[in-house]
């Protein structure tokens, strides 16, 4: 009796692997879309996909081999059967599907084709020493004066930065779609909120060309504003930019 009941465990193992695949491939992009409140699906990266599938297969194998009994019933699916028509059909399906899958695997591996370009980048490169000690000259002025400078900075921001970074600093300016490396969304707390003001000063002054190689300077459309804007203007823009985005710069840790 027990044998009959458990003899489908290989099918269950395969099915559960397929279910894992379907969830990661087709369901999770939409779950993450809703959870992270994005307006597009979030496809699982293919390397992650591979590891999840390996884990899924290992999990299934660990399960079917937890006891000799389970392992035996797992293998017993391969035994001939007389009366069970479904089992016969499933056996045939596996016998046909396995070599085909293998063939498909070899085909995709060897067929010439160009892979998608890999464009990994470091988002927050290390701040150059030159800028490390730099301080915003307007950080210690009176509150009234500060408000005035912020306003001047906001106007400068709208003039010079708005086409790409957008009127509300969300990285959606009219030019944004043209750059595959999208202009930074300053309202995202993971961007300018995590750096000190002098970091922003460095990025504005040296732009894309001033980035280290790991940050793919060749893709960044950020202009180097050195020579166009004065130091004072850039500090004001930084103040205006943080204010427009509604985030505050990271404060420097006090060194003892």
């Amino acid at each position: 009796m027990a044998k009959k009941k458990d003899s489908y465990s290989m099918i269950w193992a395969i099915l559960s692997i397929i279910v894992v695949f379907v969830i990661i491939k087709f369901v999770s992009p939409y779950v993450f879309k809703i959870l992270l409140k994005k307006d597009h699906a979030m496809p699982t990266p293919s390397t992650l996909m591979l590891w999840y599938m390996i884990l899924g297969v290992l999990g299934a194998l660990v399960y079917v081999s937890t006891s000799d009994l389970k392992w035996a019933s797992f293998l017993s699916f391969m035994l001939p059967t007389e009366d069970d028509k479904t089992k016969k059909l499933l056996q045939k399906m596996i016998v046909i599907a396995f070599p085909l899958l293998l063939g498909w695997f070899v085909y995709s591996g060897t067929v010439p084709g160009t892979a998608s370009p890999v464009e990994l980048r470091i988002q927050h490169p290390t701040l150059l020493q030159k800028y490390e000690k730099m301080e915003n000259p307007y950080s210690h002025v009176s509150e009234d004066l500060k408000l005035k400078y912020i306003e001047e900075g906001k106007i400068l921001y709208q003039h010079n930065c708005r086409p790409c970074h957008g009127s509300k600093a969300d990285g959606n300016g009219p030019f944004a779609n043209a750059f595959r490396l999208r202009p930074i969304n300053f309202t995202d707390p993971g961007t300018i909120g995590t750096v000190v003001e002098s970091f922003a000063f460095w990025r504005i002054m040296e732009g894309g060309p001033g980035l280290p190689d790991g940050s793919t300077p060749w893709d960044s459309a950020m202009p180097a504003w050195e020579g166009t804007l004065t130091d004072e203007q850039v500090w004001k823009i930084i103040m205006g930019e943080y204010a427009t985005a509604g985030v505050v710069p990271r404060q420097r840790e006090e060194m003892e």
Binding site: M49, L50, V57, F105, V106, Y107, P112, C164
Partner: protein, 584 residues
Amino acid sequence: MRMKKYELCNVLKFLKLFIMSIAAFILSTQIGYSQTSQLFRTYKKEVSSKISETNEAIEAGKKLYEKKCYYCHGIKGDGKGSAALRLDPKPRNFVRNEYKVRSTALGELPTDEDLFRIISSGIEGTAMPFWSSLSNEERWQVVYYIKTFNPDFKEKETKVTADEGNIVPESPESVKKGSELFKEAKCIHCHGKDGKADGPITTTLEGVWDLPYQARNLTKGWLFKGGNSVSDIHRTLSSGFNESPMGSYAGYLSSEDRWHLAHFVKSISRGMNTEVVLTSKIAMDDLPTVPDDPMWDTINAVEIPLAGQIVAKPRLWMPSVDSIRIKSFYNNEDIVFLLEWDDKTNVQDETYSDAVALQFPTKIPEAAQKPYFAMGDSGNGVTIWQWRAYDELLENKQQKTDMNGSATATDGGTSISEAEGADSVKNGEAESDVKVPDEGANQEGVAEQEPPKPKFVGFTNMQEMNAKGFKNVALQPSNSQLTKSMGSWKDGKWKVMVTSPIATNDKKIDIQFENGKLIPYALAVWDGSNSERGGLKSVSSWYYLSLETTTPKSVYFYVVIAIIIGTSIQFWVIGRVRRFPPKV
């Protein structure tokens, strides 16, 4: 003994499942995932429940307005904010009734809901963002404050809604009817025959009288103001745009006809089909010979969005061309590209000429590192091929005079080529002199297998340059100028066909198109009528070109071997298990 068998089976079973998972992974990567990151603002019709229009609400709206909106729309609401200088189209002036996207009849003020929708949706192609960062309540407050700029909002309470009529479903007949109405209702006078905004009125207003009125390019669906659904288009046809040449057609066409027209307009609009990798298709027979070759219609174009060049001075804040389409074919000798973009006018002079440029890294990068996307950097150079409408005109004219004058064009080649030397002058006239010797010099390598039938008849030379940054641009020596091009302008659209040998002898300065490589490319477009020249241009970032490959027969051989091995292992395992059945 039996235990050992078990272990063996265990391993094999594991292998089988592992391979299956790999296959599943491969399957999962088959569905392409393009890395474009376009986010087009769309017209959202949902409106949240209104708050009451109290003085407090207006006051709160004023505070928000003076914190977020006035940079463009001005502190007085007159559209003269400080940022307006670099905006095209200009920000809305709230003092006048120049509201465009409305549900009300022409000349009427918009409803509160209309204003709310625009604040929530933003307008694609303009600086107006979608104010998702404001709460619904805050958006209403801003709506109420904006209304205070124009006293008519208080005085004229009743608003006439634009007539919707009964919806006519889409059908080929309706689209056909609409296409006739498009001519009858004189839409073509502004929007142009093919909807590319190149109608005679538009070009006169803009080009001759310098009035900032631009008809919408109806082929670019993502740029429609107030949405691009058929009902949105119908609404625009019914309501018209206040204070613009786009009037209401409610009195002129019946609602039914407006639906037909809307279906037609929808049918000529397209979405932006951007792909990170452009595939150059193998041409089995001959390559296309002219820009209008029907062969080009057999493949799909990739559309690349463009932005003003703002990386270095001089910066272009208000570009004219916002996208370009590209297609490509190749055979074992040449690669050809077709570049298509919309440009209302074809007016050329020496300084301000329509132009397009293709940029490649001089050497295909091995790793991820590429030259700087804007004309390379000191470490990594780029090759640039530039076509200029004016140069082409000049060269064609020159060739005609040559032909008429004497037969020098056919035989005089090589001797002048040596005299020209390496430093050719970067100027139209000099170029056309270089033209003839080039023919002789370039063909040297290919001359033997060259059939008597000449390739690319009527094409002129492009300017081939090498750059290592903006300030470090050099024209290639005349005997290295191998790329040729032919432009054709018709009904508000440029088509420029570009050709280059797949491989050249100048490996140090020319890109070599290799199979199986991802070849970065970037594009730039100049619109002479918009006073664009030099650094004032529309640019794209890096995209990739890949030459289509045929599947070698060996692949199928490997597949067959894999299937045979797989089948044998499988039957061996099954046989083992059946001979020594597991004890349950």
